[in-house]
Symmetry: C2
Subunit: 721 residues, 2 copies
């Protein structure tokens, strides 16, 4: 397999480069040395160290606790996978599927951990660099931190998957690759399960702390969110690292693993691609690898070629990254398509046989990439303070919190329109040209700029935290102002990233769902497989499936509310026991650890029920009602999940930026921080927190995970009937 | 046709009884005479007359303006129907369909008008009777007002439909009844179109005024919602009459007309039922007529057999109505099923031929009726202050508006679970037993207690208004307290009614959708009709269809916000021009008419876009993309519409009752009216207004209307391909 090793080398080099970059991010000490005596007093530096250590310890502790839960889950679930699949197929398949599952889970855990470490290291570096003149030093620090994570995760994901494929290919003959790919789909399942717990647990953690810290101001007058006297503030900062950074990484890693697995499963069922050999079958991986290289080239644009010299360039720089990556992906895809895909080939589609060309494959991948960009930019339009939707939201705050909420909800609903049209268009084009293989490739294409997306996603919380640290370390107000500007741009960019995440999740779940249908078709040996809407069982489960996102959101939203209220109670209690804390010039420090512990406990406790819902729903449906019911469940979940996820994320993002706009005091008639208009905006922001960071993005995983569970257990569902 | 006239007589008697009851509701003068000098001073009585006249004039003016828009629409759309159907079939069918459409529209307009008149008459009567000792006089007045509307509408609907069928049956041979039923489905379309404009226009009117009046307190300190010095207060009261009463009537009339039409269309395609003759084909009408009689009997329970003697009996009395009606419906259905349905008959289903029995038909109808009750009671559980969901919501107000909103949204999401399981179960059972005929019958069964449902729906706003009038006429505080108790029970009962409305809408749209598929099957002469999910066009439109409810809600929510802000600006302006208005003991009266005009203009302006969306979406999809796309659009709209409608209605209902609970001051630690906790609850209530009264319930009509438009134009869609 000479191709195999030749593909391996550039991957290795990329990873090496990434880890070298990671190695140089030794954070706090280095920067501190470079700044010694320049901008910060000794006392400020001591405070910085204190804060840094508290955040670092809190994040470590939470991840350790969370991962020990995950480990238990992985062990139990891999045994279940082994047993059920061994029963319905054979023990080798069972073992290899379980092994892939464990590998996927471990990779996801590693991705999350790397993300968190990088973020924690870089927060304080960004704060320190924000004291230097200009925006370039701090922007570059935060951006580079983001890219370390982006490249580490995408590289790691592709590497582990590729090695797994290489090793497995020793056990399977070429005409059995379809079985091999099924085993490999366990990798996607592993990645996705951990992502679920990460998204839900991390999401509850971060938002419980965030909402709790926000609300403290309500209960104890004059204690803002990031005030060092606020006991919840360290938990809030820990949350940004474990919730926002680590989780987005795990989620997108899951999407990447799943879309690739879906494409591989379908490719292995296409004789013409099999005949072409390893390269053609592994084409989805080639696209992802190409994407990493393109992202790497583009990343120098923001830091070196066109650096951020002023505030209004920040958002532009981030946006340019996404646009340029996508534009470069088009010719790059063209080249690799020509290299690896046969000129024409037959696809044995889900309900018809069709003939596809190189050109068709190219169009599928590119429609995903370009469509993703348009979805991302739409998300930006609805959540950036530059455009009319958020401006209208700001105006609505003048008549109070209620109109702000009404306008915000309506903004979120409206923001669904364009992305859904784009998704429908991509699905129509890709499905028509290359059947479900096309849909899977469109998903892979949309995740082509994964590394850039992750960079931007990690950048945001790093800046947010840098600001929090600046406030806690009582640095000069200008530092906070600067990190706020970085953060505002990051918020918008994060919304763009969420757009990508949701769009790709929809495509991925459709592709996985398709792979599941094809699997059942193979198992049942019926040539024509129709998934009919007008069947009693299917229609009943269509309704139930489209209800699941609501059930899931109800649980996660309420968990945040509940945990936040526990947090507020603890804070109140601390202030009552130690009134000295309220003294603005006092030196008494609150007990941060208790708040960290509350968030940790709440997150771990509350993530179990929604996790069980997502994992058990398809399994129980498949076991008790059969595959027709599963068809309905998956379709329904996908259809309503997409809409709810997009609207929740955008509503939350818009509220956040609306508040930031008022705080920036650009329009003095709004009164700035502390005014009634600002208070109305804070209500929106607080409501938006769980929407945009807990429930909304978790729905991505709900859609994908239900589909991949069905795929992995397809033969089992069929066998027990 | 001897059966025909014998069925006609009881209907006529029922209607006569109803109109006699209506005739005796001559409102204000009579009650005034009965109370002269007893409880109210001359000045109070003068104020009452003033308020009554202002509300009456405002409501008349709005309905006249709205109906003139509707008239234009009806004329244009009936011409379109005539032309398109004449082109694809023949001019007789075109003419009769257009005629049915006009009849449906006129009946709906008449229903809305009757509802409004009854409500306006009865508001002030209820206020006056609330001055008498005990709860019985005022409860009975409001309840009887509701039942006048309930019986008038359900009687009128069934009468016009039956007469239409009788007349049409002169033009069609028995083996052509299928064509006749298609013409008659225009009746459902007419009813539904007017309901759409009513729901949207009326919904925007009432909530613009309500939110506007609420917000005045925010802008001008110390002017509560119902203060006579609040210029928006009359508009608010007019809104309750035209928005809440008239609209619910039109909506449920639409559901009734459509479910009956769907069942008739399918019945006429079933040779065994046709062979049995008129009675078997008209069985759906028989069920509805039976329902009216059962409701009539039950209505004496609340007013005579088990009257409301204390406050805590109010909610019980309303709930008992629904439960007893449903219980009595079971044996009644059994009797009529045995009378009209053959022992066994063949159904030529949408994708199979199956054999059904009398028993099966009975189960379908009863599953709808009982399922509706369970859905209604679930709604009550989530929105009544008696149970833990609202109690938790009250607690969440302690930490401010943000937690209230988070908890409220999560409550709404959660409230979807049980109703969707019930709906899925009903669909599974009915679909399995009698194919789509079963689903249509389940919808008819769920609407069996239509008259009771309407009674309770109209009761709520009558009480709400009675309270508003009491405040404006500056009556004793106890009067307001009494009407508040009546209103709180009414709110919960209204939520139950909304549950029925949404549940039946889901079944109706599925039945209509099924009738559409069958229609296409007949037109295309292909025996096997499958609606496949995994087709490029269908899946793309599944996504688009499930996006439409969001698009629609975005428009309606924002319209309310916008109109409310115009209202607040006007109020501010009035207070600035005439500061004397602010004097609490002054006699200056604000210019109520300008506020009424603002609401009217906004409602008419803003109802056009969402109306066009709903009507044009299926037509454009059918014309440009064909029937496979329409399948996707309808399924998607139905799936996500149900969820969104239920969650919106329940969230809004719960917030409303949460606020009322705090205002009732049962728990002094909440601080009652004016406290910070109360302010947090008011934010929730204001946000809930458009959710529960504009967007949520309009989604019912979106689902049904898209399906019936597709059904009416089915042949046209097929012909232009």
């Amino acid at each position: 397999m000479p191709e195999a090793t030749s593909m391996f080398r550039p991957l290795y080099n990329i990873l090496r480069f990434i880890f070298l970059r990671l190695g140089s991010t030794n954070g706090y000490e280095e920067e501190r040395a470079s700044l010694k005596g320049k901008h910060s007093s000794r006392k400020e530096m001591e405070l910085l160290r204190e804060v840094y250590e508290a955040i670092s310890a809190g994040a470590e502790a939470f991840l350790r606790a969370e991962y020990s839960y995950c480990a238990v889950f992985v062990v139990i679930f891999s045994v279940i996978i082994y047993m059920l699949i061994s029963w319905s197929q054979d023990t080798t398949i069972g073992f290899l599927t379980a092994l892939s599952f464990v590998l996927g889970a471990i990779t996801s855990i590693a991705s999350g951990y790397i993300g968190m470490r990088v973020a924690v290291y870089s927060n304080v570096r960004t704060t320190i660099n924000a004291q230097k003149p200009g925006y370039m030093p701090c922007f570059n620090t935060a951006f580079r931190a983001g890219s370390v994570m982006g490249f580490a995760l995408s590289g790691l994901g592709i590497l582990v998957l590729y090695v797994t494929l290489l090793v497995f290919s020793q056990y399977f003959e070429q005409d059995n690759w379809i079985l091999m790919m099924e085993c490999v789909s366990g990798y996607g399942l592993g990645g996705s399960s951990i992502a679920l717990f990460g998204r839900v647990g991390g999401g509850i953690y971060t938002k419980a702390a965030d909402v709790g810290a926000d609300l403290v101001g309500k209960v104890v007058h004059g204690i803002p969110e990031d005030d060092p006297r606020n006991p919840a503030t360290i938990a809030d900062n820990v949350g940004d690292n474990v919730g926002d950074v680590a989780r987005m990484g795990a989620d997108l890693f899951g999407s990447f693993a799943e879309s690739t697995c879906a494409a591989l499963v379908i490719a292995a069922q296409t004789p013409d691609l099999l005949a072409q050999g390893w390269g053609a079958v592994c084409f989805p991986l080639v696209v992802s690898a190409t994407g990493i290289i393109v992202c790497l080239l583009t990343s120098f644009l923001a830091t070196n070629i066109y650096p951020v010299t002023s505030e209004n360039r920040i958002e532009l720089a981030l946006r340019l990254q996404l646009i340029v990556t996508t534009l470069l992906l088009v010719p790059a895809t063209y080249v690799v398509t020509n290299m690896f895909i046969p000129a024409t080939f037959q696809i044995d589609g889900v309900s018809r046989v069709l003939s596809a060309t190189q050109q068709d494959v190219f169009i599928c991948v590119v429609s995903g990439a370009v469509g993703g960009l348009i979805i991302g930019l739409t998300t930006e339009y609805y959540t950036s303070k530059e455009y009319s939707p958020v401006k209208e939201l700001v105006e609505s705050c003048r008549t109070g919190a209620a109109t702000n909420i009404i306008y915000g909800l309506s903004l979120g609903y409206k923001s669904v329109i364009v992305p859904v049209f784009i998704l429908a268009f991509i699905i129509y084009v890709a499905f028509s040209l290359c059947d479900l293989y096309g849909v899977a490739l469109a998903a892979v294409g949309m995740l082509g700029n994964l590394a850039t997306g992750l960079t931007i996603d990690a950048y945001g919380p790093v800046c947010d935290n840098a600001g929090g640290i600046a406030e806690m370390a009582e640095l000069h107000k200008d530092v906070r102002k600067k990190t706020d500007a970085l953060d505002a741009a990051g918020n918008t960019a994060a919304a763009v990233g969420k757009g990508f995440a949701i769009g790709s999740a929809a495509l991925v779940s459709l592709a996985l769902y398709g792979a599941f249908v094809v699997r059942i078709k193979v198992a049942s040996k019926i040539a024509e497989t129709n998934v009919e809407i007008l069947q009693p069982l299917t229609f009943a489960f269509l309704l139930i499936g489209s209800m699941l996102p609501y059930w899931f959101s109800a649980m996660t939203m309420k968990s945040v509310g509940k945990a936040a209220m526990e947090m507020v109670a603890e804070v109140k209690d601390q202030f009552e026991r130690n009134p000295e804390l309220l003294n603005p010039v006092g030196t008494a420090r609150p007990d941060y650890d208790r708040c960290v512990a509350i968030s940790t406990k709440a997150a771990l406790r509350e993530m179990i029920a929604p996790g069980a819902l997502v994992i058990l729903a398809p399994i129980l449906t498949g076991v008790f009602f059969g595959v027709n019911a599963v068809y309905g469940l998956l379709t329904g979940g996908l259809l309503s999940g997409v809409q709810l996820a997009i609207s929740m994320s955008n509503t939350g993002g818009a509220w956040d930026n609306c508040k930031k706009y008022i705080e920036a005091n650009v329009d003095p008639s709004l009164g700035g921080k502390g005014s009634d208009i600002h208070k109305a905006a804070v209500v929106g922001d607080t409501v938006g927190d769980p929407l945009k960071d807990t429930s909304g993005p978790s729905l991505n995983i709900l859609m994908k995970l239900m589909a991949i569970i069905s795929l992995v257990f397809a033969d089992f569902f069929f066998a027990i009937k």
